[in-house]
């Protein structure tokens, strides 16, 4: 019984956790977005100033000004517009294509055989975590350096479960299951938060998250008393078994993945 001390293949960097992935993309977007914003807004303000009425400019006779009662028409300038549009389209589409590969990675990370599965149930106004041995707790315990899958649902209304520092988040919808995963680099304490308005207690709907190093996680897990779902002594999370609880939740996970 207990969880063998398996070093996660890739612990130490080969598996990028969602936090790293997000960080990379976010900073690239932020840098590029700020640059584009500064350039475009700067250009806008520059033009508005340069072409202000009364500025020293040779535009007096060669530009046709709008007249009252004319049929609306444009000023031409299609080429310049096409060029700017194409550049911006290339930047935007390029960014999205780049992020698409990371989306595929996030949806289907490697090494899931070593992963731990924990059931998460949201309710007004707290979270309940259920471990493979059936133990239920209002605190999320997980080991560092181990991929953790969360199967999330709700007991009542539409919630959303997220641990901001670990960059994991998914909706908690009554009647269905949705999944998310995280991989914590080091032990520490975090807070899980609800991100969907769920009633008067929404603002205080948090849960503590404790990331243990492997040993202390084994200790904690061994000290829990299973609530009777699994056979005694056999419930465990060795490196080769994907731990899952009852058949309904697995079915639910499949159903959730397929629903349009």
């Amino acid at each position: 019984m207990g969880i063998p001390d398996v070093a996660l293949a890739g612990a130490g960097g080969a598996i990028r956790n969602p936090a790293e992935v997000f960080g990379e993309i976010f900073w690239v977007f932020l840098g590029l977005g700020t640059a584009v914003g500064v350039v475009v807004i700067g250009y806008t303000l520059y033009n508005s100033y340069k072409y202000r009425e009364g500025a020293d400019h040779e535009t007096k006779s060669d530009v046709d000004r709008p007249e009252l009662g004319e049929l609306p028409s444009g000023s031409g300038g299609g080429k310049k517009l096409a060029l700017s549009f194409s550049i911006s389209a290339i930047i935007v589409i390029g960014l999205i294509i780049w992020t698409y590969s990371t989306l595929l990675y996030i949806e289907d990370p490697p090494d899931t055989e070593n992963a731990i599965e924990i059931q998460v149930e949201g309710q007004q106004f707290g979270w309940v975590f259920e471990y493979p041995n059936g133990e239920q707790s209002p605190t999320l315990h997980a080991p560092a350096d181990r991929l953790v899958w969360l199967n999330v649902t709700s007991r009542d209304v539409f919630h959303n479960f997220g641990i901001p520092e670990l960059r994991t988040k998914t909706d908690a919808i009554p009647g269905q299951m949705s999944r998310t995963w995280f991989l914590a680099d080091e032990p520490g304490e975090h807070t899980a938060v609800c991100y969907e308005l769920c009633g008067s207690g929404h603002s205080r709907m948090t849960a503590p998250v404790v990331i243990h190093d492997n040993e202390s996680f084994q200790e904690w897990y061994a000290s829990t008393s299973p609530s009777g779902n699994q056979s005694d002594g056999e419930a465990g999370m060795d490196g080769n078994e994907t731990a899952a609880i009852g058949p309904t939740t697995t079915t639910g996970a499949v159903a959730a993945g397929d629903s349009p």
């Binding site: 969602p18 997000f22 993309i25 977007f29 584009v36 475009v40 807004i41 806008t44 033009n47 508005s48 072409y51 202000r52 009425e53 400019h57 535009t59 060669d62 530009v63 000004r65 709008p66 009252l68 009662g69 049929l71 609306p72 444009g74 000023s75 031409g76 300038g77 517009l81 700017s84 549009f85 911006s88 935007v92 589409i93 992020t99 990371t102 989306l103 595929l104 949806e107 007991r155 009542d156 209304v157 539409f158 959303n160 997220g162 960059r167 909706d171 919808i173 009554p174 009647g175 299951m177 949705s178 991100y195 308005l197 009633g199 008067s200 603002s203 309904t248 939740t249 639910g252 629903s259």
Partner: protein
Amino acid sequence: MSGHLPPKSSVKRWLQTTNHKDIGVLYLVTALFFLVFGGVLALLMRLQLWTPGPTLFGGLAYNQAVTAHGLLMVFWFISPFGFGFANYFVPLQIGAKDLSFPRLNALSYWLYLFSGLLFGVSFFQGSTFAGGWTMYAPLNVPTFFPNEALGATTAVLALLLFVTSITVSSVNFLTSMYRERAEDLRMRDIPLFSLSINLTVWMMLFAFAALLAALVILTSDHLLGTTYFNFQVTDSGSILSGTGNEGASMLWSHLFWFFGHPEVYIVFFPALGIMAEVFQTFTGRRIVGRKWFILAMVLVALQSFVVWMHHMFLTGINLETKTVFMATTIGISLPFDLMVFALIYTMIKGKVRFKTPFLFALGALILFIIGGITGVFLGAVVLDYQFRGTYWVVAHFHYVMVGGATAMFGGLYYWYPKITGKMYNETLGKLHFAGYFVGFNLLYFPMFIAWETPRRVFDYSAGMTIWHQMATVGGFLLAASFLVMFYNLFKSYFHGEEAGDQPWKYVSSAEWAVSSPPPLDNFPGLPSYASGKLSFKDPKDVEGAHAGHGGATAADGGAAAEASATAEAETSTGTPSKIRAVTARATGGVPATAHEHESDHADHASYWPLMIAFGGFLTLLGFAGYQGGELLGLPSHLIALLQGGSVPKLPYLLLTVVGATTTMGSLVGMTRESFAAPEDAISERWPFENVEKMKLGMWTFLASDIVLFGAFIGSYLFTRVANGWQDWHHMIPEAHVSLPGLINTYLLLTSSFAVVLAMVAARRESKRGVVAALFVTFTLGIGFLVNKGLEWAHLFNLHEGAFAGGWEFSTNIASSTFYLTTGLHAAHVIIGLIVCAWLFARTMGGAYMGDEKPIEYFGLYWHLVDIVWLFLFPLFYIL
């Protein structure tokens, strides 16, 4: 009702006016009131967020503030504000005297006002709706309300009333824009503001029909006990099963966001149109790439309907779907890039004047650029996974939406001199802009920095306190800047300098060619662009070229209409190919013999729109009392009342009865009223030259109705798949057989045929034929209802089998979908029969001989009702 309006200083004028300019002013003023209402709620939220934790309010109060702020701003402020301008200026810009249906226009306004008042009432009924403006299920049904939250139902009903206002408006604007344009003003020639309104209204027609379906279903859950959006997990060990609809949350998400995404463009497009106008005027240049700009707007309008699932990336939808919606979302950002560049390039070689309208429009462009860039972040799914439910989303949408509002305030200063004839104070205008722009950025930019704060949460990590405090200061600065605006506009109305017809240089659209304010009938003649520029023709010159009576002929249009048009064109003074010579006289039910020679006399006043809307307000106020599925008991309560017994919920019953009577009576009154809204003798009408005004209005309305039923049928299909297609049969009693449905199908199909016969008889001027055919239609329709009544009574009173207690509205999700969908259809039948009876009575009185059009319009409606049944019958009786 005569056309003479009391002066603007008299309250009576404003209560009965149907003139588009007056209604525009009403919309603008009322929208500004809701801006203040929603804004105060926002300030309260910002005070709460001054420090982490419940600074001022507890959770329920805060949630109400958050919800009401969103609902008021999105629905009751921003779109109506844009439509205030649309009402005032679209007819002027396209060369029309008024909208096609002036009384319906007034009705739209009063429905809007009363819906807002109804929302205001909801605060005093325990608690108003507190589940966010997005109203996710199942938090949006009474099962999950705090005790005594009657206001939550009232709020939903208020929104329902608001949507009826929008539907009426859409029909009106679309008909007007296609039938009332000046000669030779093609659709692509109309000013960009009017074009943006045209696209807005197209989007509204389809998007709001989906919202209407969602709200009708939600209302039914509240009042009739159906279980579409109700799901309660049962404690039977499986977290995934429960009572109600397993697909409840997802169904609401799809319906709401299918509406919700086009909605944000519905909100933004009028602002975009205003930006285009203001940029052109204050740079002294025509827009760069006009046809690309227009194409970009059209693309956005179309694409807006295929991006909605980007609001649902975390709901467990599959990867393929997410990929598609990621692509479409990025796709929709591209036309906006083009439009932003077009506006920027318009300044080049311009003569830019930094007057207040331009400051706001330029400011709006900058804010929109920032908001748009941050939107691209949200389109990258991996990033969205973390931004979901955080202040990144809040900051993004406030930059774009309030950025749009910024442009609209620019429009307010731009058009203020035209509306009032007075110029506002320019220094105060600039002061407003300074406070506004600094306040705006101080309020919303820190939200990007503190983006990790969850939405609708007042607890956040201490490190973010400084950013939230900056935002609160910014919010108050933004609000204070409006005091300057209100003072400026109010004072200038009385003491401002006289503004002439063209207070701005380089204006070009038609509203600037008339006085400030414009005269009641807008133009000093018939506007025409036949010469290549705006000119005004003398109506008498044009009159002589046309033969009167009736509009373009029937749906088979074709030869007859063309022959008469060519004949008339040859006798006119302009180039034959360019003049569309149609004189249509629409008098809303009054025989076409009236007002024949007074083609330019238009009516401008009617009290009926106000009364209809007021009745609606009372009725819905009464309905709210039946929260908890008790509305079905109303008929028996009514009977008890008439018998003098004690009646539960008496105040609500009385409100309902008085309200419904007022509305019904006022509808009759409005139909009986003689009201002339003549179309101009010459107009550009592509592509609806041969579709007269009333028919075009009917088609538009029916298009909206089709989407409504489509959403209902879609909801049924989605729900049935979510609950298990075959398993569905376990939820239906054996007694529910297909025979009643089959009989009803035959009854309806025959009645449709009968209507066609009535139309033919009217054309042949056979009164007996019309009477007989309408009688048959009516009887068959009654037969349909009686048959359905028997079927339902049987199902309600089952004594044996799996549903021994009866199979009713609230029994299960299968019964809910069955009764509500076929019930909505039955309601359409009832309305049709009322109209049929009306037509019958008028025929007896000698109407419609030779003029079969009203019967034709009824026929179009009736055929739609039948076609819908042809879908419902297999879905609910066979499959």
